[in-house]
């Protein structure tokens, strides 16, 4: 009985990690597509979002099945609850990556004088947050999760910088306001991905320390 539960939990762990790597992969691809203005890759990302949705549903159903069948307690119970939440976060991350890919179509116009914004540093930071939050989950590393939570502020600051830059750009070239707004939305999406990474980190801390650290409590 206990052995079976452990087996099921290992399976869940594997699935949530593959979901994590899928989400990470989508985000990286979206950033790459943004950098190279690759609309084909962007279309691919949008089309393949279904895979992530399917895996998310599968993981959630597995979790519910285990909860009903084994009535786990203590760390196992916490783990399953945390997986259900992280599952949701990862699915949202992949959604946001797909959203970034959608923006690429509208901002990739080749018109001269089009405003461009270098998202590389922000993408790098957000990607690092996502990677570290998943690493913290794999290695059960609460300290790393703490660092992820601290990084969220930096990403928020970067979003604000992007906001200011866009504002001046719109004032300079009001006729391109649509494109610039879309460009700004990308920073919003990245910031949201950072938020989800923070959520994952908080769940990891909850899992390890058994203490809920959400909302800065």
């Amino acid at each position: 009985m206990a052995g079976n539960l452990q087996k099921e939990i290992n399976k869940i762990k594997k699935n949530i990690l593959s979901l994590g790597s899928m989400a990470e992969d989508r985000f990286k691809k979206a950033v790459h597509a943004l950098k190279t203005n690759d609309t084909t890759l962007a279309r691919e990302i949008i089309a393949s979002d279904v895979e992530i949705d399917e895996l998310e549903v599968e993981v959630e159903e597995e979790c519910l099945k285990i909860l009903a069948l084994y009535q786990p307690v203590a760390i196992d119970l916490r783990f399953l609850i945390v997986v259900v939440k992280i599952n949701n976060d990862l699915e949202r991350v992949a959604d946001l990556a797909a959203n970034i890919a959608r923006r690429i179509k509208t901002v990739s116009g080749t018109g001269t004088g089009q405003y461009r914004y270098d998202y590389a540093p922000m993408a790098e930071k957000t990607g690092l947050m996502l990677k570290m939050s998943l690493d913290a989950l794999v290695g059960m590393d609460a300290d790393m999760a703490d660092r992820v939570i601290l990084m969220d502020k930096e990403v928020n600051e970067m979003r604000n910088q992007a906001y200011d830059a866009m504002k001046t750009a719109i004032l300079k070239a009001p006729e391109q306001v649509g494109q610039t707004i879309n460009l700004y939305l990308i920073s919003r999406h990245m910031e949201r991905i950072g938020d989800h990474a923070t959520n994952i980190a908080e769940e990891v801390i909850h899992l390890i320390r058994g203490k809920i650290v959400r909302h800065g409590i």
Binding site: K13, K14, L17, S18, S21, M22, D25, K28
Partner: protein
């Protein structure tokens, strides 16, 4: 619940005891029986003899007299004599009163005697309160039994004797039982002591100490066992040693492999991983086994690959990009992993780093494309101007000829420079692999010659050239080639520096190398370009470089020359502040 094990002693002792008790009982039963039989036969013979004698004595006496004789014999011999008439009436008895005695006709011995035979009986006598043996003999006169003479003696003695013998035998039995216990203890000790030693030895085998040997006991069976176990330990030791050697060899081969090797089972859990593979995933090689691959390598493409590899029986191959600290392209190759019975166990994945090969491939492709492009540009312009010149009429020719010819000359010069550079490069490339032998040459003359070649250009651009080379330093080098390298570096520095600035060449000895350093204060090179500037035709700013008359091969030539000398070329640059190129050569 396993049966409780008894000590060997408790297996031996009961059987010992049983044997003792049974044998003693049998002996006792047999000997007492024999003894009693002997006694009874003896008594019967005595009584018969006595009876025969008394019968003669009695013959012809009256009844009263018979009784007296009886009493007398009784007093003298302690033998009871009774005389009974055929009617059963007792007429004489040694101890009882004749008148009070009951009719004896039905007593078995008397009944037998009345028929004319000898009657014998052993039974309990109510008269005397003892167990008695009776022998009755008929007294015959004129062919008929006229009376019966019965002699009897007590046989209670024999029973008492036997009882006392039995009592002493029981006492002996207790003593023997104790002795048996002692002997059993001794015997079991004797059997178990070598067994105990062998057990200790075998336990040593079990815990892995296969070098010790069991002492061979002097019992044949046990010594055979001990020898067999020793042989087993020896064989086991050999087997384990060879297995360990094989494992270590395998381990050594795997860990010294540059390719990453990972074996995973059907659940994607790691069975084995070598150091190179652990390095690919940025994790220590220890403690990776039994963990899921996803935990270590969160790479979506790798997971897809593993799924494919585990689903197929054939080997699968793919190129995968890993974006860790640095970007690496791996050619990964999977082979199905089967156990000794041929069942599928998992898959073996080999990671081959092809980042360099990929880069070289792209470089070669780029090179071919670049060379043709670089050659085409001046040729197109040559063709254009030649055609225009041909089409011009007399007046126009005079007007424009010199201008066109200048352009033609410039393009031809560019072509020549390009072909020259390509020839230098190919010459250098041909030298690759040959170990050159150089003579020690001083740095100063080389640098000075190079600088005098560049002086003209420096003056034209209004840039001050500085040289600070220590005379004492000399390096192993080909002075002509090194001159060219320095000229290329200085030319580059002059090309990119603003008029009025300075370019300095320093030479000296540092950290065991001869160092030539070219320092400019030009626009500098952005960090992302630095790793690639030594590639052929790589240009930070294409338009500008060609304007300046560069072929795009200058730095590639410098790099080749320095490598040919077994040296090292370094570059440090801060955008907006300038660059420093440094050549390091082995000291003479």
């Amino acid at each position: 619940m396993p049966e409780k094990k008894r000590k060997l002693l408790w297996h031996i002792f009961p059987s010992f005891l049983l044997i003792m008790v049974v044998s003693l009982s049998v002996v006792t039963w047999y000997s007492t029986g024999f003894f009693r039989e002997y006694y009874l036969v003896n008594s019967e013979t005595d009584l018969t003899t006595q009876g025969t004698l008394i019968r003669r004595e009695m013959f012809g006496h009256s009844q009263d007299r018979v009784n007296e004789i009886c009493k007398e014999i009784g007093r003298l011999t302690q033998t009871r004599v009774t005389v009974v008439l055929p009617s059963g009436r007792v007429i004489g008895d040694s101890f009882g009163r004749v008148l009070e005695m009951e009719n004896h006709r039905v007593r078995p011995e008397i009944a037998a005697a009345l028929k004319g035979d000898k009657g014998v009986s052993v039974r309990y006598s109510a008269t005397l309160g003892q167990k008695m043996m009776y022998v009755a003999l008929p007294m015959e006169s004129r062919g008929r039994v006229s009376a019966v003479v019965r002699t009897s003696v007590s046989v209670s003695n024999i029973d008492n004797e036997i009882r006392s013998v039995q009592k002493s035998i029981v006492a002996v039995l207790v003593v023997t039982a104790l002795a048996a216990a002692g002997v059993a203890l001794l015997v079991s000790r004797r059997i178990t002591r070598p067994l105990e030693e062998m057990r200790a030895g075998a336990q040593g085998f079990a815990t892995g100490d296969l070098t010790r040997r069991l002492a061979v006991p002097d019992t044949e069976e046990l010594s055979l066992l001990a020898t067999t176990m020793n042989r087993m330990a020896e064989r086991l030791d050999e087997k384990i040693q060879s297995a360990e050697t094989r494992t270590m060899e395998l381990e050594a081969v795997l860990s010294s492999m540059k390719e990453g090797v990972i074996a995973i089972d059907l659940n994607e859990e790691i069975l084995m991983v070598n150091r190179a593979a652990a390095g690919i995933f940025d994790s220590p090689a220890e403690g990776l086994t039994n963990r899921n691959v996803v935990e270590i390598a969160r790479n979506y493409d790798l997971q897809q690959f593993l799924n494919k590899a585990l689903a197929s029986h054939d080997s699968v191959e793919e190129d995968i990009l890993f974006t860790g600290r640095r970007e690496h392209v791996f050619n990964i190759h999977s082979t199905a992993l089967c156990n000794s019975r041929g069942g599928r166990m998992g898959t073996l994945v080999i990671f081959h780093d092809i980042t360099r090969i990929r880069r070289l491939e792209t470089m070669h492709k780029d090179f071919a494309a670049n060379v043709s492009h670089e050659l085409k540009t001046p040729l197109t312009s040559l063709k254009g101007f030649v055609e225009t010149l041909q089409d011009l009429n007399g007046e126009e020719v005079l007007e424009k000829r010199s201008k066109f010819l200048t352009i033609l000359e410039k393009n031809v010069n560019r072509l020549i420079a390009l072909v020259d550079d390509l020839m230098v490069l190919s010459k250098l490339e041909r030298k690759e692999g040959v170990v050159p032998v150089f003579d020690p040459e001083a740095l100063t003359p080389v640098v000075n010659t190079a600088l005098s070649a560049c002086k003209c250009m420096a003056q034209k651009r209004g840039i001050v050239l500085h040289a600070a080379v220590s005379d004492a330093v000399s390096a192993l080098m080909d002075p002509l080639l090194m001159e060219q390298a320095v000229v290329n570096l200085v030319n580059n520095a002059l090309k990119y520096s603003e008029p009025g600035s300075e370019v300095s060449v320093e030479g000296g000895e540092e950290e065991g190398y001869a160092v030539i350093r070219v320092v400019d204060s030009g626009p500098g090179i952005h960090k992302e370009h630095l790793p690639r500037i030594f590639e052929r035709f790589y240009r930070v700013d294409r338009a500008r470089s060609r304007d300046m008359g560069g072929t795009g091969l200058g730095l590639a030539i410098v790099k080749h020359i320095v490598q040919y000398h077994g040296g090292e070329i370094r570059v440090a640059s801060t955008p907006g502040k300038g660059s420093v190129f440094e050549i390091r050569l082995p000291l003479a």
